[in-house]
């Protein structure tokens, strides 16, 4: 059975247009699934819904989010928070804003272990030291006592990764974890996340708009357009032969670093029109 199973999840702006249209996807234990799509396609929204951090301006209008067989949406808020905190974690997009500027690094890694999971403080601190070593941060004792502003963006992202893995979660949502980073650092961070995932056997929901990243770290992917899953494939199948016309156009639009002269290929208008028609048909009640 899959660890995370999203069934027909619909989300919309309160009294506004739909943002997710009956999205279904599964993440098996230890699987890395990519969520791709253009800006506004709703890929981050799925991660937020799973982690219970949807903004107050949106509401869930239907569907289920099954975590280890339990529908999170049916749990009372407190139980839902505890369950998510104990078995899921987030690697956020922007390491510069995701650490609390007035807390030291140490407590920001150990807080969940101590406050939510009831570890003794000494055990949690030992764990934090091990994690910093694992994400290749030298002088862990100095870093644990540092404040976020004393560390570089790359360092902070490593710390956030360490913090995400702290409680050995079953599932991590990585929300464009390299987008805010310097290109030279992006590759290292990506390698680090992939390596940690493999060692810990954590399932990963990897939100990105970069198909190159998907081909390197993911086993499966879901392609979203306008809040609808248009393709759900294994990565190898997808890159060999994408099934949906939009997927094919998206793949063709990926810039090729080996051939800069080729320039950029936009997604053709007729493909956009076709996929928009699909969305419209869905909204009208037809089967997409």
């Amino acid at each position: 059975m899959s660890f995370l199973s999203i069934r027909n999840l619909s989300v919309r702006l309160k009294k506004g247009p739909p943002l997710l249209r009956r999205v279904s996807l599964d993440v098996q234990a230890g699987e890395v699934r990519g969520l791709v799509g253009e800006s506004g396609a709703g890929k981050s929204m799925i991660g937020k819904a799973v982690l219970g951090i949807l903004p107050p301006s949106v509401e869930i209008t239907g569907g289920e989010i099954l975590l280890d067989g339990t529908d999170l949406l049916r749990l009372p808020p407190k139980d839902r928070r505890r369950r998510i905190g104990a078995s899921c974690a987030l690697i956020p997009q922007d390491p510069l804003t995701a650490l609390n500027p007035s807390h030291r690094i140490g407590p920001q890694i150990t807080d969940r272990l101590v406050d939510i999971l009831g570890w003794p403080r000494s055990a949690a601190e030992a764990r934090a030291r091990d994690l910093l070593a694992e994400v290749q941060i030298p002088e862990p004792d100095r870093v644990l006592r540092a404040y976020p502003h004393e560390l570089s963006g790359g360092m902070r992202q490593r710390i956030l990764i360490a913090s995400a893995f702290a409680a050995e979660p079953k599932l991590i949502v990585a929300d464009e974890p390299t987008t805010a980073l310097d290109v030279t650092v992006q590759k290292q961070i990506l390698k680090l996340i992939a390596g940690m995932q493999a060692r810990h056997g954590t399932a990963l929901l990897f939100v990105t708009h970069d198909l190159g990243v998907v081909s390197k770290v993911c086993q499966n992917l879901s392609v979203l357009y306008s809040g609808m899953v248009v393709e759900d494939s294994a990565v190898t199948d997808f890159f060999a032969a994408p099934r949906h016309p939009y997927s094919r156009a998206l793949l063709a639009a990926t810039p090729k670093y080996t051939d800069p002269a080729a320039g950029l290929t936009p997604v053709p208008d007729e493909v956009i029109a076709a996929v928009r028609a699909e969305v419209a048909a869905f909204d009208a009640g037809g089967i997409a």
Binding site: L51, I84, G85, A89, A98, P101, Y147
Partner: protein, 336 residues
């Protein structure tokens, strides 16, 4: 190191500020109409009497000479003699300072507690009726000045429901074994809770009158600041860790949101100290402000000068404390 440098700079600017205040107060109170001699002599005094009394207090000298004499005295710790009471100004002023400090600090504590509670409750239940009710209460508290709150409180808790004292600092019948003028603190230290309760019962209403407008400002600003902080990434990340709303507000948001509020509280606290002048009068509370009004009515020039200088000193010290607190609360500033 940074803190020491800050202290040194602030000490220097404090001296410059005080010098400026000394010049202004000295000349302004001599330019405005009315003079102390006229207040002291009975009607029908002769020109001769006036001249003799003026010479006695040095008021017949040129202004600049008078200023020189006063400044020379101040630099040696002699602030002159009060014309009305014939006691040294320094003794008078220092004798009243503790009463005003205790009142102002009690008012500040009340304002922080009331305003903080309003902001936290409003943030916890934001977007609902509770927040609306808090906003309305804040607006009302803010639009009524402290002396009107004083009258309202006297009417409510002094007349209609007489639960607190509305006049004085302590019941006259009580025997005070105190060695300092910090009655509130000393009664606590001496574990004389009977006296402490009486002193508090005298202070509650004037302190509350001073606190209400400041509490409203703190409540409004802190709530705004908290609500903005609650949308930041690190707060969202804390939610995924399993923290509930209340803990997220207290643990993650409060400290960062408090920083901008703190600066404003410093500025507003100096206004509150200014407010003690009227409030002390209203409640016949024997502090600096009450004495200041008497001094102005009697044209007691040396006493006015002493009180104004002391108020200026208090203001600069409050600002210094705020700056230091800011540095302590904000790690980015501490290491700069």
């Amino acid at each position: 190191m940074a803190l020491l440098r800050l202290l040194a700079i602030r000490l220097l600017t404090t001296l410059v500020t005080l010098a400026g205040v000394a010049v202004i107060v000295f000349f302004v109170i001599r330019v405005v109409p009315g003079n102390p001699i006229a207040m002291m002599l009975p009607p029908g005094a002769t020109e001769d009497d006036i001249a003799r009394l003026s010479a006695l207090y040095g008021l017949d000298q040129p202004l600049l000479t008078q200023f020189g004499i006063w400044v020379a005295g101040v630099l040696q710790g002699d602030f002159g003699t009060s014309i009305t009471t014939r006691q040294p100004v320094l003794d008078l002023v220092l004798g009243r300072l503790p009463a005003t400090l205790e009142l102002a600090i009690m008012a500040l504590v009340m304002a922080v507690i009331l305003g903080g509670a309003a902001a936290l409750t409003g943030t916890r239940f934001r977007g609902g009726r509770t927040e609306g009710a808090i906003d309305v209460a804040n607006g009302m508290a803010l639009s009524v000045p402290d002396f009107l709150w004083g009258l309202v409180l006297i009417l409510l808790f002094g007349v209609l429901m007489p639960v607190f004292h509305i006049s004085g600092r302590v019941s006259p019948a009580l025997d005070l074994p105190f060695t300092t003028d910090f009655y509130l603190f000393e009664s606590l230290l001496r574990l004389r809770f009977d006296l402490w309760a009486d002193i508090v019962a005298h202070m509650v209403l004037p302190a509350l009158a001073l606190a209400i407008p400041l509490a409203a400002i703190i409540g409004q600003l802190l709530k705004q600041s908290l609500k903005e902080t609650m949308n930041l990434d690190y707060v969202t990340l804390a939610r995924t860790k399993g923290y509930g709303e209340t803990r997220v507000i207290l643990r993650e948001a409060l400290r960062n949101a408090a920083l901008p509020t703190l600066t404003l509280v410093g500025v507003q606290f100096t206004f509150l100290i200014g407010g003690t002048v009227i409030i002390e009068r209203l409640f016949s509370y024997e502090g600096l402000g009450n004495m200041a009004i008497d001094a102005v009515i009697n044209r007691d020039l040396p006493l006015i000068q002493g009180i104004v200088l002391l108020f200026a000193l208090i203001f600069t010290v409050v600002n210094l404390i705020v700056d230091l607190l800011y540095a302590v609360l904000n790690p980015r500033l501490r290491h700069a």
